[in-house]
Amino acid sequence: MNFILLMALREIRASWKRLLFFFICIAIGVGSIVALRSVIQNVRGALATETRTLIASDILLSSNTPMPEDVRALVAREARAGRVAETTEAVEIATMVRPGDGRPVARMVELRAVQAAFPFYGTLTLRDGTYSHARLTGGGALVRPELLAQLDLRVGDRILIGTKPFEIRGVIASEPGRSLGAFSLGPRVLVDLADLQSTGLLSFGSRANFQLLLRAPEPTVRQLGATLTDALANKFVRSRGYWQNADRIGEDLTRAENYLSLVGLVILILGGIGVSSVTRVFVQQKVRSIAILKCLGGTSRRVLAIYMAQVIALGAAGSALGVALAGAVIASVPSFVGSLTGTLQIDYGLSASAVEQGLAIGVLVSLLFSVVPLLEVRLVKPSLLLRNDVPPLGRIDWLKWGVTAAVAASLVGVAAWQAGSLRVGLMLSAGFVATAVVLHCAGIALIWAVQPLRFSRSFALRQAVLHVVRPGNQTRVILLAVGLGSFFILGVRALQADLLRDFAVQIGPTAPDMFLIDIQPAQRDALSAYLDSQNGDAPPPNTIPVLRARVTGVKGKDVTLDSYEQVRGRSGLSREFTITYRPELERNEKVIAGEWWDPRTPGAEPEVSIEEGFLRNTRLNVGDLMSFDVLGRQITARVASIRRVDWQDFRSGGFMFVFRPGVFDAAPHTFIASFKGPGDPDTRARMQAGLVAQFPNVSVIDLREILQTISGIVNNVTTAVTVVGSLVLLSGALILVGAVSMTKFRRVYEAAILKTLGASGRLIAAMLVLEYGVLGAIAGTVGALGAIALSWAVATYALELAWSPALALTIGGIVVTSIFVAVVGVVASWDVLRHKPLSTLRAE
């Protein structure tokens, strides 16, 4: 044993420079896994201690209509029984806010109206002093700093919410109950619940969320939660306990952790491929030493053990370096994500379990990827010290194939372990193999395609192409790694271009780009008149009546759902739908079954047209009956037709249910409107402010602002995937450096011969540049082809976007990859240019 360790240490001492990249490959992969897992575990740890803070209570009841009296009565009963200690109410609503000084600007905000007891858990932190409800009473408001910046306001200024003026009495630094990283329509504004009624925002049909927050004694809180969930099953009031919050977020985070770790694993596997190729070349270089050791009495097993020990030591060192890198990255996390996590106090640091996993996987992957090349050690005969022409092994090496199969199975196991799912592990492995095979085949095809260059007049180009195809040049490995990196980056960039182009098309020069919601019937005409007066020659607004309804019963040939429980049991059926009524089909709709009603004649009974997507849950047919709860009123309608809606064309609106006019004519409902706003930002802002001033309850959604937000999200996602792609590309560069350094002895010798034969240093340099340039161009083309296929498939089938090849991006990607590989290859081969031919030939 001592001999094995001693020899392993001596080998590392002699070869560590050549194997440097071995542990950098492992380090990057391990670093990615440890960093991603640690950050998510840190977040999970913080959430575990602050789950009550997230909903500011033990149990949160919420409804889109004012809390029904029977629910209040139920809570009161539970309070009398000692299971509810305290309650408080809150209302959340997205609305517009304007400065009180009459300036023509307005912003959408997320308003929350609370009572004195809010919050039961967590602390509302203000920038200027401590929070007390007294700051809100009598027309006070607390706002997020973003709103102050957006509307150029200061503490003490007045703002108008609906029709009521409020005084800004403080700036919110952090607020309990604000979801982690949640999408928000605007900055938070906090007011007293008592003041909300007088704003006029709670008019009929408004999109408010009414909340009842409960504080409950711990011993019976879960029992209370179960009781409320059962009792509220038919009420469409949602009950959420803090523990469910923790469970849900916990599940999300576990999923996120596992998927992100797979990203790290992909990088680690690429590193492993590099490790494998380095080990193979390393063994080739060590053949003579192995033969000497065998000649001196070393058995194959002991010699193999020396190199295994070396790999384990390098894997462990690489993993340790990876952990150190992860530590450095995590140390910089708070400055990046501080604003994202809002109220949550997260202590960022390496988590012990992530470090353990990283170290284990690093060593395991090192071992798995090097064991097959290391098995060659067994086949080295000591007789090669006397004679080089050792006959190759004729028979099948069953041990090698057996070990290869075991390694493949182990890698699937590692992937499944990291993904937390055997299925995902298998899918990842299959995907990786498929990608590798495709890239490999594409690489072979492209290498074949450049073969005619072997007959080029240029000596340098001829030699470069010959070098690309020569045995042992690691071309396939480099193509795989670099190709995969450019594939990731170009693929996501192409998708980003498709997405942003699609949004740009959606708000083309004539399409509506402003939407108004919560228009009361009485405001409809006045609002149209205002818009006509403000909007010049633009077409008049398109106003659409809307109501909110839930499906309460379905009576079809195949399905009969008579109760709320049954409806709830069908996934997605019980949610609240926005419905409308109209005489005509819109231009983005097509009837695919049944018939559209004749607008000139009134219907004998209520009729509804349903969107085909709804059929997935119900298998309804034309002629079946459906029951709806429309604002407490039960309506039964016959399915008159089934429509297909082109959801991409959202300007014409998309509704699951469209009713025949007549049923709701007299029912209370609101309108939404869409129109093309002024192009000039100032005029647009003035128009928005005027709208809000004249119709305070109406909310304005500016599509241009939304587009900016979406662009921001798309850019962030693109950046994230680009970082991953860059890491993959970095792995590719490392593999390239490794391959170059491992085969450099051959190049140095060849260069020495060429120099002796009269080749200048410049010619040798040109050969190197061309060789790596050609290799990079092939890798870039492989990646670009993959990226084109990926962006086409995702755009066409997943996102249903119009796809067009990003030609400039593709060509640019190939050129950049080619230059990248040429630079890395030439820099890594610097010794080839530097060595004097005589010393090299003497050494040989």
């Binding site: 001999f3 030493s289 000497i292 050791l293 000649c295 009495g297 070393g298 010290l385 006397l386």
Partner: protein
């Protein structure tokens, strides 16, 4: 004692089998100094490799101290080499990643000797290279490398020392030093010495001279030393 019984070696040369050593019967007594001579390609090195168990004969058997080594597996052969055979190559074959003294200690470390490093230092001093102990092979001259290789061959006090043209790659002065070292080994340790050489003068010092040509034994002559 080493006994060769109808030992031959045939290899594949392209599509045709090529016999590089025809069946040979020969016995080397313990403590004897045998020189194997012959022109290039006569099968000298092949025979030496077969004696060391570095390669397996196509036919026949080789018995060393009563053990038929042709029946041993790779690992048993390696063990046998470690215990009984010291080998000196024409091209030295030192492990390039180890220092001179480490190269000498390796066979003893493989054998599990606790005094490996101390004895390696003693051996390197015996070959006159104590001051080069921590140099790597690439930092040593050919003669120095061969002296290290001889010290390594003697590390486990093997009863048999095999040398494949040990002076063939050295100038005559250095070759003389190496030769003196090998003869001294035989004299002081009583080891069996089998040496492949082109050097007639060197061969004349052997107890017995075995001449090969085209893989066949053409002559066995008792030398001056006997």
């Amino acid at each position: 004692m080493i006994e060769l019984r109808s030992v031959s070696k045939t290899v594949q040369s392209g599509d045709h089998p090529l016999t590089i050593l025809h069946p040979l019967d020969y016995t080397i007594a313990a403590g004897q100094f045998v020189a194997i001579v012959g022109p290039s390609g006569s099968g000298k090195s092949t025979l030496l490799g077969l004696l060391a168990g570095l390669d397996a004969p196509s036919t026949g058997s080789i018995v060393i101290d009563g053990t038929d080594i042709t029946k041993l597996g790779e690992d048993a052969l390696a063990k046998l080499r470690g215990e009984k055979i010291g080998f000196v190559f024409q091209f030295f074959h030192l492990v390039p990643s180890l220092t001179a003294v480490e190269n000498i200690s390796v066979p003893m470390e493989i054998a599990g000797r606790r005094d490996a490093m101390a004895r390696a230092r003693q051996l390197i001093a015996e070959v006159g290279l104590a001051d080069r102990a921590h140099h790597y092979p690439s930092q040593l001259s050919g003669g120095e490398q061969q002296r290290i290789a001889i010290a390594r061959a003697l590390a486990n006090d093997p009863p048999i020392v095999l040398a494949d043209e040990p002076t063939g790659n050295l100038d005559s002065g250095t070759g003389r030093i190496i030769l003196d070292l090998l003869l001294n080994v035989r004299r002081t340790r009583g080891a069996t010495l089998v040496l492949v050489t082109h050097d007639a003068e060197l061969a004349s010092l052997a107890d017995t001279r075995l001449t090969l040509r085209d893989g066949r034994q053409v002559e066995t002559r008792v030398g001056a030393a006997s």
